[in-house]
Symmetry: C2
């Protein structure tokens, strides 16, 4: 028996234990909380969860004990939508936006995503890897232990592969677990501006087969928006991806209501992401098809908009919503799930319990890891956030601060304040 690691004296142990599927409706308020709780980790996995005495009886001499001193413990967050591998930042564009320029105006003038593409193409894989490692530290400092990571700042075969190989290298290194998504259909690159059709063909016939044969992505995503890719173009890309065995995610209805949610439903996508503009019909179809909405309030906030996705309506419709950061250098420069929980509770009227469920167990199911992480249950990977407060509701309540005290990822202490 290898030596174990116990965390004891947690005022609240938020387990999120429950049925082995995403949570909907009133289930989203059930946190499976153990007061004065403790847990035991062995071989990187959770061996037992329960009251302090129960766990202490199972300890042997070689085991290490962390006394949480009345803090709370919960599953490490699962961030189900990020764009974390890029070169440079866009703080100059941020300054322009503070002076009134819109995101769409900046994109139309060749800035925005294409500015990050120019910088990312010039960077080497090693440079991108080092930059992403610094961002990994930010994710860990904010309690996130699993990150879905999209490509999409290459938009050419070699550059997209370069980004996806960086994500693979990050995942091999750990301790964060990275879930790779190919997003060749993020924007039409400058050199294809007058020949969109050829770019879609390149994505489908060159990039996707290469990505699939190197097993570089678990999902394929596309930015479905009149200013990016049309419904037809998105369908073409995602059908090809599905035929190669990739799961599907869709950037849907962020800036306009284009029917992208309905497309995600018709394709049986794992998730439809953003959904700020989605109609009742779109919500109904997502429900019928079992697609999980991934809501990204940080980008609404950071773009200075006020129309947040209709999370409450989605919960009432029975959808297993997810909250994620959308971490990226343009519309959402935050790696902080607690900040997203704050936005969810103050701007979208989710309760703290619903928001936490959306960013842990529901998020884990949305990236295909519901059996592996997202709750504190025996057998799961030991991804644990010990936060420096005594009540889970303080995670969204106190905002703009980093709450993590200790973060355990795959059984290793990955961050300690």
């Amino acid at each position: 028996m290898s030596s174990g690691f116990a965390i004891v004296n947690c005022a609240q142990l938020v387990t999120l234990s429950g049925p082995a599927r995403p949570r909907t409706g009133a289930e989203m308020r059930e946190l499976g909380m153990v007061e004065n709780g403790a847990l035991l980790i062995r071989d990187g996995r959770i061996e037992a969860v329960g009251g302090r005495e129960e766990i202490e009886r199972r300890l042997s001499a070689n085991d290490t004990v962390l006394d949480a001193q009345g803090r709370i413990a919960l599953p490490g967050f699962v961030d189900a939508h990020t764009h974390p591998v890029f070169a440079g930042t866009r703080c100059a564009e941020f300054e322009l936006r503070s002076q009134g320029a819109t995101y769409e105006e900046i994109a139309a003038a060749g800035g925005g995503i294409l500015e990050t593409v120019r910088q990312t193409r010039r960077a080497t894989g090693d440079e991108l890897f080092e930059a992403a490692l610094r961002r990994q530290q930010w994710f860990l400092r904010n309690g996130t232990t699993t990150v879905e990571a999209k490509s999409g700042y290459g938009l050419a075969l070699d550059d997209e592969l370069k980004i996806l190989r960086v994500i693979r290298r990050l995942n091999e290194r750990g301790p964060v677990r990275w879930v790779p998504t190919f997003l060749g259909a993020h924007a039409v690159p400058e050199e294809f501006r007058d020949n969109r059709r050829a770019y879609v063909e390149l994505v489908c016939e060159v990039m996707l087969p290469a990505v699939a044969s190197e097993h570089l992505a678990r999902y394929c995503d596309a930015f479905c928006e009149p200013s990016a890719f049309s419904i037809d173009e998105t369908r073409t890309v995602l059908r090809r991806a599905a035929s190669l065995g990739l799961g599907l995610r869709v950037h849907a209805d962020q800036l306009t209501c284009s029917g992208a949610a309905e497309l995600a439903a018709s394709l049986g996508a794992a998730t439809a992401d953003h959904l700020e503009q989605t109609s009742d019909a779109g919500i109904a179809q997502l429900r019928a098809a079992g697609v999980q909405p991934v809501l990204l309030p940080a980008s609404v906030y950071a773009l200075g908009r006020t129309r947040y996705p209709r999370a409450r309506d989605m919960i009432e419709a029975g959808l297993a919503i997810v909250l994620a950061t959308d971490f990226n250098p343009g519309s959402a420069p935050t790696p902080s799930i607690p900040m997203v929980l704050s936005l969810a509770c103050t701007q979208m009227h989710l309760t703290p319990a619903e928001a936490i469920t959306a960013a842990t167990i529901n998020a884990a199911w949305s990236v295909g890891l519901g059996h592996e992480t997202g709750s504190l249950e025996p057998g799961k990977r030991a991804d644990v956030l010990v936060a420096d407060c005594a009540d889970y509701r303080k995670l969204p309540y106190f905002f703009g601060v980093e709450h993590a005290w200790v973060v355990v990822a795959g059984g290793e202490v990955a961050f300690r304040r």
Copy 2:
């Protein structure tokens, strides 16, 4: 000569040097930046600021050198409006608000400020001091080295004095500098609900003289709002405070446009705070009277409102605006000035430079410490934030993270990541 402490190799040294008065209009975009800058601290004060070579020439053998490795340095933030001494939190009320209850409904039912008053009255001075010390660490972690701190959760002579003595003890301990403000007129306490006049008289004839004779406050503030204190009641309290030698601050026009800004102008207050609802006439009178607006976007955000104060109009009218957190357990549970900078740039259309000016040099003038802190100039107290980025615009751009790498307060290293 005592030994010195130099900080060198700052990609940007944001000095905020300039005229010895609050900054208005285009001045708010002038950061007095030195590239590849350095500074030298001796006896807790800034001795010299300049290029790296210039500072290195002044070093002697006993001096310590901190290599910022290309990070930025700027003045420690001055948080000009906080309520940091209280017992308990209001995360249960936060949960109610996430379910749709309004701040006003909760207050009318005896919750809100009065709930914190009940808990704070039960706490001892030592308990309040320990809780405030933990919050001091949060301020430091977010780069704040000077904090204006209001009483107002006692609302009885002994309890108000207890809070103000805690603030004095915090200030004596350091390293944060605390500026005490008496806020007896924060709410009418339950025991005076049917006799408001007697409470105002208690504030004026018992509390204020006691506070003044013990030199426990530099300012007096009042919450001028139909649901708190009327224009006439506020005038009565603040005139009495002025007669005792206290400077004046006013919670003005937060929830309704009641003429509080005009009152602040007529009384010659140092600041008028909040101003979400202030009219053009109010802005003009603040300008004419030289009152500084203290804008508090974190409370707009946290209450789920969308009407932010008209910062741009105020700058154009020539007002020397200030940004502060409003840190308190109800409407603004954040100690983070960087979070407020993010709100200012994304929701109020200030530029990063304007926002930083508002939270440093302008804030310092608003608390009577413009000659002492708020800029990096020879002779000033050495309050310095070394932030973990290479461009000052990243402070508001990346949000939800703690940017501080090293914080120096009064020449001492008060925080180091």
